[in-house]
Amino acid sequence: MSVLLDSIGYSGWILHALIWLPILAVGLVLWGSEASAKHIAFWSSMVIFILSLGLWWAFELGWGGMQMESSVPWIPAWGVNYSLGVDGISLFMVLLTTFTTSLAILGSFNYIKKRERAFYALMLLLEAGVVGVFVATDLFLFYVFFELTLVPMYFIVGIWGGERRIYAAIKFFLFTAFGSLLMLVGVLYLFYQAKTLLGFPTFAYSDLLQVPLTGEEQLWLFAAFALAFSVKVPLFPLHTWLPDAHVEAPTPGSVVLAAVLLKMGTYGFLRFLLPLFPLAAQHPTVVATMMILAVIGIIYTAWVAAVQPDAKKLVAYTSVAHMGFVVLGVFALTVNGLQGGLVVMISHGISTGALFLLLGMMYERRHTREIAAFGGISRVAPILATAFMITALASIGVPGTSGFVGEFLALLGAFETHPTLTIIAATGVIFAAYYMLPMVQKVFFNKLDKPENVEIQDLNGREIAIMAPLCALMLIIGWFPTPILERMEPSVRDVLARVEAAAPAAPTAQASDLDGTVTIATKTDDEDADSPAVVED
């Protein structure tokens, strides 16, 4: 496979193609007729997805730095480059994006009935923007893509959404823009420091890593960047835009929002926050704050989800809980925690995306999302019920599904450093069963007592084609996570090595080689953070 890919120079052009092919497809969709829009959009997104699959083989194992890098000067006066690259962290985000976008487009065939050309054009534009976020290795370019994803999503929610779509769209837009605008000041501060301290203007990620920042500067910049990413994640208490946006967004919008847009936030944590501001990222107060917020998010939203009468709102709240596990894992600052966080990101993208697709299919049949309006439909729609069951179990994190691998690793990683918080967070897994399973029971089991529900059709061929790969992936990742883990591990270790290298505790670690007992006795709880990982190395 890799020989074939090499022969066509795959790694040289693929990242550019993944950004520009969707934009080309936007042109095709707008150029074509209203009726053909969805077919053009679907097939071009499939082509993009199939092309992106090659990344799996072209990606070189055992190397944690950027791969397939290429760079073109963009704005030389400011030292901005159009430079792209992937590593073990972004690889899966790119694949997740191309995968879910094509399924989301396939899933909107029946749902989107008006202004189809504009809709599919915006979906493809969104894909280009999101891929750009994940492959940009220049901070300026990253910011441009990060902001650019807002506009298509704003219109997708605002035009094709439900009753309160405009409110939800503007809330989504202003919340996320609020964070990213403050990040812009941070970006420019970093740029200014780079220009002063390195002697040349640059936004390149690899250069910015070299900028020596004081601890206080790092805290400020960390705050600015963390705010932008936390709104996106979303971290409690900045999550209030999410339920609104999810409920009002059309199905494909919810799918892309849950599957990839939220990941831009946690991706930002891993890509920028930890490596750029390592001192701030391991500051005990910062770590404690982020982890406590994550745990509050996990528990609180689980309770809120449990009482939602609207199935879509329920799933929206579970997103906040799942992303809480990611943040928990990331700020554990251990290999297991970071890897677990990454797997939760992938797993949440697949399972929550699938849940939204299924809810969309149910909405198309019954034109309601009220849990109480359904009941016993597993008897009339067994395939739908099976798919929903698998997805719900993956979402809860039952062993054997992708959700389990991620949450287990994240909790394991967090337990190494913050056992108390982790125990509280682990109850979130129980709550997940508590809100998800009754919903499944009320919708699919119980009595088939409503005449409208008897009429419900089972999934058709197109819908099975959407759900089959999603369910398969949940199980495959659940049973065989190693190929994924081994691809991300070197990059995760690089991030951690960078954090540890800057650690004020570094001399202590050296000292522990000489005399372990003394240092362990003097260590505080938070400094314990790194020691198990170090020992394992």
Binding site: I75, V144, I159, I170, A177, L181, L188
Partner: protein
């Protein structure tokens, strides 16, 4: 060619663009009252001239701008020899001239149908635009406060007349009177400030003032008072809060093409003059005026963006938006380094294009008049006029400073200048007020795309004649081009700033 200003004739060469514009201004004026352009030629005194006759005058004015542009380009090839003169022939002035020429050309292109339907006297209308443009050019090229003041008056009086131009419309007349009275008042401040500065430094030459101040021979109290009064005078012209009270009323009342013109060109001229006077002339007194501009910038950004949030009239909303943009530019002026000044040039160029573009569509929606300016009138506009809808969305996103548009690059440039001066608080205010601006810009977008029209035929009468479309296409192309490939223009702006302080002995770029 070498210009030696000890020979009077060489002033003619140095001022060729301005001279061409003045000549063409008068030519258009005369042509407007003669021949088939004269109103009432067909026997009835009230009969308006035909659309064709009006556009002929418009094209004549555009030819004037084109020739002036040609000479402006030619001036790049001349060099100055000898001592300082009254007029600067540096790249800074020439870049500013491009901005004025583009603003005037776009404003003329979008006004054809408006002038025809509102039965305005085309000859006087286009003549006044050319004359005010010439005044702006004098301001940009002035190396002496008196020349600058003359240019300012030529510009202002032409614009006062243009504001009140639609004499059948009471709002237009009211706006004209208001603008004139307050403008004259502000001019008084400016003039008094110039007099005091002259008293303190013994010269009206900007270069000589700079030398006097940095040489320490200027008297402190009188100079500070003079600088303060000049700040007030200029703050009025750029409509900075709290000297902005006239702006919403005047912008709302003036004929829409005039509003478009003055919201970009008058503001640009005032900023260009501000840069030369304060950064070259008063550079040594940076400590004196820096806090004034700091506060002006902060208050302007906050107030304008907050008031714009609640506007339901689109023209008035754009008026507040233009005040807010003055605030962003004032941030760069406070920074007072070469990056910031280049940023001001770049931003003024982008702002000119995007703001005139937005006004062009406002004019279209308003049926080439002043009828439908409420935000409800935009409901469903995008779907019935997709091209204009997409264009307005692009203009609004650019005004909001969104990536992919020239407005974003401009804002980044201003912020970079501010970062070099370490104005972190001001930068934070800038981005937070930008967040507020997203609300009112996007509100228009949501009415356009997310609401259904009130009546099915609501947008049936939207008119966008060919010249307006040409202006729109050009504006959108420039905005996207500068948003995607700003490199060349950034270099150009940066290069245009280099010669700014050459004769003034300025410390440009070294300010704290």
């Amino acid at each position: 060619m070498e210009l030696d200003f000890s020979r009077q004739l060489h002033y003619v060469w140095a001022l060729l663009p301005e001279i061409v514009l003045c000549c063409f201004g008068m030519l258009v004026l005369v042509a407007g009252v003669s021949g088939r352009h004269r109103p009432g030629r067909s026997g009835e005194p009230s009969a308006a001239p035909s659309f064709g006759a009006i556009s002929e005058l418009g094209w004549l004015a555009l030819v004037g701008l084109l020739i002036a542009g040609f000479f402006n380009g030619w001036l790049y090839s001349v060099t100055e020899v000898g001592s300082a003169s009254l007029v600067a022939v540096d790249d800074f002035r020439l870049f500013a001239n491009w901005i004025f020429l583009i603003a005037a050309a776009l404003s003329i292109l979008i006004s054809f149908s408006y002038v025809y339907r509102q039965r305005l006297q085309a000859g006087e209308f286009y003549g006044l635009i050319l004359l005010s443009t010439a005044g702006m050019m004098f301001m940009a090229g002035a190396r002496d406060l008196v020349v600058m003041f003359l240019g300012l008056e030529v510009m202002s009086i032409s614009v006062y007349a243009l504001t009140a131009f639609n004499r059948r419309d009471r709002r237009s007349a009211e706006a004209g009177l208001k603008y004139f009275l307050l403008g004259a008042f502000a001019t008084g401040f400016l003039l008094y400030g110039i007099a005091l500065v002259y008293g303190a430094t013994g010269s009206t030459n900007i270069g000589a003032i700079g030398e006097a101040i940095s040489g320490g021979s200027a008297t402190g109290g009188m100079l500070a008072l003079g600088i303060g009064l000049m700040v007030v005078g200029f703050a009025f012209k750029v409509s900075a809060v709290p000297f902005h009270m006239w702006t919403p009323d005047v912008y709302e009342g003036a004929p829409a093409p005039v509003t478009a013109f003055m919201s970009v060109a008058v503001k640009a001229a005032a900023f260009i003059a501000l840069v030369r006077v304060f950064l070259v002339g008063f550079d040594g007194a940076y400590e004196t005026w820096y806090p004034l501009f700091w506060w002006l910038a902060a208050i302007t950004m906050v107030t304008a963006n907050l008031i714009a949030l609640v506007q339901s009239n689109v023209k008035r909303m754009l008026a507040y938006s233009s005040i807010a943009h003055a605030g962003y530019l004032l941030v760069a002026l406070t920074a007072a380094n070469s990056v910031a000044v280049a940023g001001i040039l770049f931003y003024l160029l982008v702002y000119t294009v995007m703001n005139v573009g937005a006004f062009a569509i406002v004019i279209s929606v308003a049926h080439q008049g002043e009828e439908r300016l409420q935000i409800e009138d935009y409901a469903g506009f995008g779907w019935s006029q997709p091209m204009l809808g997409v264009f307005l969305t692009i203009f609004l996103l650019s005004l909001a400073g969104f990536p992919g548009t020239g407005g974003f690059m401009g804002k980044i440039y201003l912020l970079q200048g501010a970062a070099d001066a370490e104005l972190w608080v001001l930068m934070t205010i800038l981005v937070l007020t930008t967040l507020a601006s997203y609300w009112y810009y996007l509100r228009v977008a949501w009415f356009m795309w997310m609401k259904d029209p009130v009546r099915a035929d609501q947008h049936g009468l939207v008119i966008s004649p060919l010249p307006m479309r040409a202006a729109l296409f050009a504006s959108v192309a420039v905005i996207i081009y500068l948003g995607l490939f700003p490199g060349a223009m950034l270099d150009f702006a940066q290069a245009s700033v280099q010669g700014l302080g050459a004769l003034g002995g300025s410390l440009l770029g070294m300010a704290p």
